[in-house]
């Protein structure tokens, strides 16, 4: 074979050839624009294609991390998680009874195709989102008339568009009105301190879409660059499914800061290790954006050990807690029985406690995460750093006490018959779940002498299973959407999500919980905090779960990238990023 030049072996990262278009330096704000690179293109990988970019249908982190740069709502969270106006010109006026919110819109907001944004666009977008009943439609649940719209039978396609066009009452939220072109008035059905947080949630149901575009291709408009129209700083210019997607900054954007990065190129890869290697070798500028901040621990250890790379590593707590869920109710809808049911009274509770205390959570964080990508969850299920977090080392279920665990086991299951044949279910799609599962199994074996089988179940079947009480013990987790305890307590326990029957991970429900929760939800946040914390204590006292860890996200940022980063919830917006010359 003829020899070939080593040059040929120089393979740049995926998509480098596509994106090396020389573009003039972006306009920028002028304040920090010294030594900006001439080519303001940002390249990063994600490890799986996004499911949808339609705000009414959004439900995954990747979807929203991308879409948040293309769409805007009336208000948004800034980098420090304060709610600030976005399309609205100022924060809304709230009536004294907390039931009416009046928003005044800016008058200079336009879609990327030039259409001006007025209050009727807000109404259209919200009615559409409520009618389509996507995963986050509940963000609008406090608005008067939501019950009617959420029960509407026509939920997609041209028929729904037809109904929306003629303002059919079945798809119109009665509490949502537009007194004039730049005012939106929202009437709630009952006070809800969480309402503003819910609609500030980036890239979801509160975001504004352009009816002129959507009506032509009601379900798939967001898949084609020409139709993917939003009010954000960027618009989609190319999309090859499962391969790559490109965005370009809007010139003369109405918002701020004006974007410096002109082009964003995202490659859709599948393998974290190879993506990180490609980053190290210069094919990407950042890693971890787009909802993939769960870098494998060995890659992180390696980078920490590499002198010229370890400063590129950014570790930041995420708002995600993982815990072990016991199935607490067994009935027609929930098939798993086992020794942990609430109906088993004190014996069952002690057994739950035994299993909880037998796990060394500190060791878990050390062995599984090297104390880097996770920290033991010692302060309740709401992640540390969020409102509603109880306090370090306050959760009795986070303790590790093998002696007491063994004692409880012997007292409550002397012949071992109750804890025979148990299994722990988890979804192996995220590798850390598998590692944690094996760790738990070993802990119970070593500290309790009880053998628990591992039951890996593929992700979507797993979700379906634990929501219908199919597993005696299962992994559970929650990533907060916004900084309000309601996001947790309304979605995980009690009658609102559907407990004790299906659609609820644990089956946990009682009237004390429901009453206190209703009270807390109605109050303004500051007043509600002690009530939410009391709810947390209720869950602890009833030993409803075993807390495991809070997640930490890992990002890699090249030294020439400025302005990239994350708060606990979302990546910083692309319009804040600048590429320095390098």
């Amino acid at each position: 074979m003829a020899p070939f030049s080593w040059r040929l072996l120089k393979i740049l990262g995926v998509g480098a050839a596509l994106s090396l278009v020389v573009v003039a330096c972006g306009p920028g704000n002028g304040t920090q624009s010294n030594n900006l690179a001439a080519n303001q293109t940002l390249k990063f990988p994600i490890l799986g294609d996004f499911g949808t970019l339609d705000p009414a249908q959004l439900n995954a982190e990747t979807d929203s991390e991308i879409a948040q740069n293309v769409f805007n709502g009336l208000v948004k969270f800034d980098n420090n998680l304060n709610i600030v106006p976005d399309i609205a010109s100022k924060l809304p006026d709230v009536s004294s009874d907390g039931m009416t919110y009046t928003f005044t819109l800016r008058q200079d907001v336009t879609f990327s195709n030039g259409d001006k944004v007025t209050s009727k666009d807000v109404l259209y977008s919200w009615n559409r989102a409520a009618a389509e009943q996507g995963a986050y439609a509940g963000n609008l649940a406090a608005i008067k008339g939501y019950d009617v719209v959420s029960n509407n039978k026509v939920t997609s396609g041209a028929p729904l568009e037809a109904l929306l066009e003629k303002n059919d009452p079945s798809v119109t939220l009665s509490g949502l009105t537009a007194p004039d072109q730049y005012t939106v008035k929202v009437q709630l059905s009952s006070p809800a301190g969480w309402f503003l947080s819910a609609i500030a949630l980036e890239a979801t149901t509160g975001m504004v879409v352009d009816q002129n575009v959507v009506k032509n291709d009601f379900d798939n408009w967001w898949t084609k660059p020409a139709e993917m129209v939003g009010t954000g700083a960027y618009k989609m210019t190319a999309y090859t499914p499962k391969q790559s997607v490109d965005f370009q900054a809007i010139s003369n954007w109405w918002g701020s800061p004006k974007p410096t990065v002109q082009k964003v190129h995202i490659d859709i890869l599948s393998n974290a290790e190879s993506a990180i290697t490609a980053y190290e070798q210069g094919s990407y500028d950042i890693y971890g954006y787009g909802g993939y901040s769960n870098a494998p621990i060995d890659a992180i250890l390696r980078i920490q050990g590499t002198a010229n790379e370890k400063n590129q590593l950014l570790l930041h707590p995420k708002v995600r807690t993982t815990w072990l869920q016991f199935n607490l109710v067994h009935d027609a809808a929930r098939s798993a029985a086992g020794p942990f049911l609430l109906s088993g009274g004190t014996t069952a509770k002690n057994l739950r406690l035994a299993f909880a205390l037998a796990i060394d959570k500190t060791k878990l964080a050390t062995v599984v995460c090297h104390d880097i990508v996770c920290a033991p969850a010692t302060g309740g299920l709401i992640t540390k750093g969020l409102i509603g977090y109880v306090g370090d080392n306050t959760d009795p279920l986070a303790k590790f006490d093998a002696t007491q665990a063994k004692q409880l086991l012997t007292q409550n299951d002397p012949d071992g018959s109750k804890t025979k044949g148990l299994s722990y279910a988890y979804d192996p799609n995220n590798p850390i779940n598998t590692t944690v599962a094996q760790f738990l199994q070993d802990q119970w074996q070593t500290n309790l002498g009880v053998h628990v089988d591992l039951q890996p179940v593929d992700h979507s079947a797993f979700i379906k299973g634990y929501l219908s009480g199919k597993y005696v013990m299962a992994r559970n987790g929650w990533q907060a959407d916004y900084n309000h305890p309601q996001d947790w307590y309304d979605n995980l326990w009690g009658k609102i999500p559907g407990c004790p029957d299906a659609n609820c991970g644990s089956g946990y429900d009682n009237s004390a919980y429901d009453t206190l929760l209703a009270k807390a939800d109605a109050e303004p946040l500051q007043q509600a905090i002690p009530d939410y914390q009391a709810l947390g204590k209720m869950l602890e006292d009833d030993v409803t779960y075993v807390p495991l860890y809070y997640s930490v996200g890992a990002f890699l940022l090249k030294p020439y990238v400025r302005g990239a980063g994350t708060n606990n919830f979302f990546d910083y917006y692309w319009d804040q990023i600048q590429i320095l010359s390098h």
Partner: protein, 296 residues
């Protein structure tokens, strides 16, 4: 399903049964590769048996040492991502590989041989059906079907074996059918029929023994293919589930951490390769030994 590794030159066996086997044995013994391979395989079986009652450390014991630790005196092959002893897991993994490899072939024999015999001897409608099925599925990549089967049934050792058998029995049936078809024309078969021997006795007493040679070779060469299959399935995440170690899943974990802890991938890769090689050499040796056309 067709697999390149199992293409066997098929020739009817001369009916000198007694001396064929001792002949073959003599030839096999002289084949150095096959000999070394057999010794290795015996050792492997021994290790697998020992591991059912003893391993240096409990194979699922987490955190008994630093994670990703390279080999030391206490842990000869180092530790994995959970700080477990790799040597112990490797030993238990041998069980899995042998069970998958040998177990699937036994089942393939149990399914493929009778079907092939009946189809090849009796011809007729049974043969039509069998041939039809084989032709339809001839061109389908077996790993894909196995993946789908495991996907439907759920990943577990039992289902992997089922999936592999379901995709491989056809090769065996086709081989046996061919043998049966050619053997049935032989004089000794006609003689047997004339003497009034019952069909079952014909099939299993006369035809099968004469077809044994290629069948044994095919089965032996099918073992590494099955082990490789399981390694592929594990690599793609639908193999044997944790904490049961299989060499394939250990190799997968090792590959993921290859830049940081290369020792993790080396042990199971070498184990896999040596075992596959040994079975391949043994199968080749058997084929040469049983093939009357090779030089004495």
């Amino acid at each position: 399903m067709a697999t390149a590794a199992a293409v066997v030159a098929v020739r009817p066996i001369e009916p000198e049964q007694a001396s064929l086997w001792s002949d073959a044995w003599r030839r096999l013994r002289r084949n150095r590769f096959a000999l070394v391979a057999s010794i290795y395989l015996l050792l492997l079986v021994a290790v697998a048996l020992i591991s059912t009652v003893w391993t240096p450390y409990r194979m699922s014991a987490v955190g008994i040492t630093e994670t990703y630790a390279p080999p030391t005196a206490a842990h000869l092959l180092g530790s994995d991502e959970l700080g477990r002893d790799i040597l112990s897991r490797l030993m238990v993994g041998a069980q899995v590989s042998l069970i998958v490899g040998v177990g699937t072939q036994i089942l393939v024999l149990a399914v493929g041989v009778p079907i092939g015999l009946l189809a090849g001897y009796y011809r007729g409608w049974l043969d039509q059906i069998v041939t039809f099925i084989i032709n339809v599925f001839y061109g389908i990549p077996d790993l894909l079907v196995a993946m789908i089967l495991v996907f439907i049934l759920g990943p577990s050792l039992r289902n992997i074996i089922i999936a592999i058998v379901a995709t491989r029995w056809m090769d065996m049936a086709r081989l046996v059918r061919g043998q049966a078809m050619s053997l049935r024309e032989r004089e000794f078969v006609e003689a047997g029929r004339a003497a009034g021997a019952r069909p079952i006795k014909m099939l299993f007493g006369h035809i099968l023994p004469n077809a044994l040679g290629p069948i044994i070779v095919q089965a032996t060469l099918g073992i590494p293919a099955a082990i490789l299959f399981e390694a592929f399935l594990s690599f793609l995440g639908v193999g044997v589930q944790p904490p049961t170690p299989s060499w394939g899943s250990m190799a997968n974990e090792g590959v993921m951490a290859i830049q940081y802890a290369p020792h993790m991938v080396i042990a199971p890769s070498i184990a896999l390769s040596l075992t596959l090689m040994a079975f391949n050499f043994l199968g080749d040796g058997l084929r040469d030994a049983l093939d009357p056309r090779s030089r004495r």
